[in-house]
Symmetry: C2
């Protein structure tokens, strides 16, 4: 199994908004148990169900299924743990690397994070000027935790 390495940062300005490549993401959880999360997500007219196990060393069980978007929306509206996470996701490329920026809405408004996916821990990459402190290992920023403890209540 390939191990993906992601690094996550806070975003310090809105200069990332120059991209037009963005979509509204809605996501919620049917389980936010420590041992397993079940996530429902809708964006760009598509629905997804994603099951993740707990992280053990570098690997994590993960299963993802494409589902009808109206069923994802129904689960988000009727079944998922409150509140739902809503965010605008921006897709950018900076000096050859792909970044995704999440601008949270609703109960997490004010929070903006950026993620880059690397091939290995030692990979060198350039940080855009709007990228601030690293928060990769800070559990408060895990999306599942932003349900139970939303940013606006910090």
């Amino acid at each position: 199994m390939a191990t993906e390495i992601e690094k996550k940062f806070l975003v310090t300005s809105d200069k990332f908004k120059r991209t037009k490549n963005k979509a509204l993401f809605r996501q919620g959880y049917l389980s936010i148990d420590f041992e397993r999360t079940v996530r429902v997500r809708s964006y760009d007219g598509q629905g997804f169900l994603t099951i993740k196990g707990k992280t053990r060393s570098c690997t994590r069980e993960e299963f993802e299924y494409n589902i009808p978007v109206h069923e994802a929306e129904r689960m988000l509206d009727k079944l998922c743990v409150r509140p739902i996470i809503e965010k605008i996701r921006y897709f950018l490329t900076y000096e050859g690397c792909k970044w995704i920026v999440d601008e949270f809405l609703g109960v997490n408004e004010g929070l903006i994070t950026a993620e880059i996916e690397l091939e290995n821990e030692a990979q060198i990459f350039a940080k855009p000027e709007w990228v601030g402190n690293e928060i990769t290992y800070d559990i408060r920023y895990f999306n599942s935790n932003l349900v139970e403890n939303p940013y606006k209540s910090w």
Copy 2:
């Protein structure tokens, strides 16, 4: 939405075993929250993921997805809440009505239940001689509860 009515009974003898129409069912839960259950099931070379909301009057939200059986087995072995439910399900017809009988294994060995699906509450049906007391509304027999409180521990 059509409302299905199911009635569940205890089974008092093994005379139902005359059918050859049977399959091993393995099922487990990624969530057994009161508000929502997420069930993983494998049988007959197929995998399923089923999400159910809580029952409100006669209706219940329900979503089911066919998934690769090896992924269902992996979730059953690695991710689901312990223990897993294992049972042999028998499919029978008695005087024009379809019955399913579940003979539980493992931690629920000794428990055998029978279910019939009716079109309405008033429908008349014949009970086979091996069908005993009704347990439709007895929560102890809900499969999700047989995980947390298995039959052998009663």
